[in-house]
Amino acid sequence: MDSVSFSVRNGEIVALVGPNGSGKSTIIKTIASVHRQSAGSIFVNRVNIDTMDPVDLARMIGYVPQHFTYTLYSTVFETVLLGWRQHIKWAVSDEELSRVQQSLDALEMGRMAGMFMDQLSGGERQKVFIARALAQDPRIFVFDEPTSALDIRYQIEVMETMRNITRERGAGMIIAVHDLNLAYRYADSVVVLNHGKVVGYGKPQDILTPSCINKVYGVESFTVENEFGKFIVPFRANPS
């Protein structure tokens, strides 16, 4: 990574876009405390996260991974409950249980609370991990391609839900996405990455242009505008 710098405000959604290997996941994981940065600092509410207690940090930043690895045999409910782990002393209170149920209901997974994780489809598992981050009630959501395994309906539903939640709670959201139209529709700002560097940062309509996409991805695209909005359609890969 090379001099990456951006910020997220309350209620704002920032999308990270870029080709595979451009560093989106690395940034997401570093913010989520999965990796430690070797240089530079991350500030939440003007506090450097290196100086924060891990428990406090866990309450501030919620993470949804791209790939799910889960080891022990657990249920949907238990997985979502973990989001609240840093607040749980020993026993689980009724309010904590209802918090979990609410997070599941927000993603329309309420009826699946008792099922085991490996009984679910890939998309359902992804929604469980999103519900877990919701239960964590952080100030910042950090999602690594949260909709990649979801069908087109779930993709829209989840993004709408996340946008509502972000605005309602005044939280910030950083998502790494491959789908440029999701970035276009839902992000307030876009950070375009290529080879570990930021090559564009600003509003989606300014940044996600066919020429930028061609420069970064080597893909020809065109924009379509109608009463539903503006859409980008990639259609041809240029020979490299």
């Binding site: 989520a32 207690d53 045999y73 085991f116």
Partner: protein, 140 residues
Amino acid sequence: MLLLPLVVICFVILERMAWDLNALSAGDDVAKNLGINVERLRLSGLMISTFAASCCLAFTGVIGFIGLMGPHICRMIIGSDHRYLIPCAGLMGAAILLISDTAARTIMSPVEIPVGIIMYAVGGVFFLYLIMRGRGRGLY
């Protein structure tokens, strides 16, 4: 009387790690985001359980397969919540040993079969059963 306090201390330490151990079930990445130092958790869990097992061995000798069978059976019965799994696995190990010891002394009485033989026989069969069952409930 040295053994009891050592084992109790180890048990208490492990039990306090129970929630962090539960969090590992969502994957290392998510556990790190939840504020857990995953490497340290694994290392200390390993060291403490090894220490507790070694203390017991020092007083009683080696009995095979209890460490394998006890937790797996418990997990099949009560699930993966470590708050209950840790004490249950301990008690289950003790129960398995008592049953085996009773069997060892009574099956071919008055000849006393060493407990170890029963444990290895039962444990081996149990292990095969786990493998045959495949990735069913409770097994991972």
